[in-house]
């Protein structure tokens, strides 16, 4: 059994950022993203300052730039269409390297690219300094609906179990000489997916039985109460606070 890709995002460490309570970090990252998104796209210098702020956080968290940049690649498929915008958007056009590009499209692409990258970078920093389990505790503390937290928590617990089941089914298929080689074999794969769904569903019922047997009555008991001091909150909120100042300057200048 593998350790599961879900845990690879985390980078073990003992920096001050690692030590912050998870809910303060979640709140800070969310507030930062909101501030970045509400910055006018024309204030290009503001985005540069945001990047500097994030770099400072990464430095404090001792997350190396190479690690951060590699994780940022996740963004590529999502911003691919931003690259198309200058070509397809309407309105005033400018010539760049012999191509006729839309000014509006260029601004749009820049807007998506800059804000997207900053948002992803903030999330990557959050994920690499906070364990998944702690993130769940943080979400619980921030009063996310308990059902959502439970679903996420079971996803983490059973992701590996189901992946392992999937692997065993594939080995069983291949051991009987099956190899997916094209559209004609999709039916078999679909049936495997169906079987996996039913197995997981049945496992869910058994897990529920085990939970009820131990006194589960609809809500998860609180085992770890996460708390944060005023100092920890102010430390965590320094990032969105500084970003807010930049944002306000962006609107007024």
């Amino acid at each position: 059994m593998g350790t599961g890709h879900a845990h690879r995002l985390y980078r073990h460490g003992h920096s001050p950022v690692h030590g912050l309570p998870p809910h303060t970090k979640l709140a800070a990252a969310f507030a930062f993203v909101v501030v970045v998104v509400s910055t006018p796209r024309e204030a290009m210098w503001a985005f540069g300052l945001y990047a500097v702020l994030l770099a400072a956080v990464a430095y404090a968290a001792r997350v190396p730039a190479s690690f951060l940049l590699k994780r940022l690649l996740i963004e590529v498929p999502f911003v691919a269409f931003a690259v198309l915008m200058p070509f397809v958007a309407e309105g005033e056009r400018v010539g760049v390297l012999g191509m006729s590009l839309s000014v509006n499209g260029l601004w749009g692409a820049w807007n998506v690219l800059a804000k997207g990258t900053l948002g992803v970078a903030a999330s990557v920093l959050l994920a690499s300094t906070t364990e998944l389990r702690a993130l769940l505790l943080g979400l619980q503390r921030l009063r996310l609906p308990p059902l959502l937290v439970q679903i996420a928590s079971f996803m983490i617990r059973y992701g590996d179990v189901i992946a392992d089941e999937m692997r065993r089914m594939r080995i069983a298929r291949e051991s009987r000489g099956f190899e997916a080689r094209g559209v004609r074999h999709w039916g078999v794969l679909a049936k495997s997916a169906g079987a996996l769904f039913i197995r997981s569903y049945e496992r869910g019922e058994r897990v529920h039985l085990a939970m009820v047997s131990r006194g589960y009555a609809g809500s998860m008991p609180v085992i770890d109460e996460v708390t944060a001091s005023r100092a920890q909150w102010s430390y965590a909120l320094a990032l969105p606070g500084a970003a807010l100042v930049v944002c306000l300057l962006g609107w007024t200048l």
Partner: protein, 272 residues
Amino acid sequence: MTDPATGPVTGPVTGPVGDPVSDVPASLDVSGLAFAYPDGHQALFGVDFSVARGERVALLGPNGAGKTTLVLHLNGILTGGTGTVAVAGLPVDRRNMAEVRRRVGIVFQDPDDQLFMPTVREDVAFGPAAAGVKGAELEARVDRALELVGMADFKDRPPHHLSFGQRRRVAVATVLAMEPEILVLDEPSSNLDPASRRELADILRALDVTVLMVTHDLPYALELCSRALILSDGVIAADGPTAHLLADDELMRAHRLELPFGFDPRSVPARG
């Protein structure tokens, strides 16, 4: 249990086995239990038995005998048939459900079903926390339960990073943390390698708790339980010293129970 053959098997059981304390209610008292599933399939046809406090009893029976159905009645997951179940004198009904579930600790067959929390510690804490235990008392319960199964060093590990035998032991700890009156084990030795199987036996033998063990593993039943019940076609077909039941070829054949090749229960030395 006056038969001399059971004497040595009972051996050095910890706990008050055989104590002539008659005012202690039986850990488990099942009487006239009958149950049919909504689809009409009747699984139990009037089951009667009782397990005294501190006893270790094996529940044997072929596939489809109704063992799982019976187990799910013990903590009130299944109800609605006729008959009664009482745990240490407390009847299993809607009003007592929370207390009944604390008193009856069921260890299910697949530890992946039983261990559903992100870490071992949280999983063991789940039962007591659901019952309202908090803080230092909760930590102490978790530590004690993990200590009993020899898994104290694995507290902060995620369950899926443990070996199967370790997961089974943690599953036992999750119920022990609830300080149950009776431990109900569903196929405790299934999928264990011989060493893990023996380790689990040592742990179970050392526990001071009533045990009902549902199993196909007849040598394991003989090793751990001085008394056995045979559930067959929804009724208790036999109840007596394990060594006697296993040695009764006719009885065994009649209920589709088979000993492993070469295993002779008469030749098993008493555990000392």
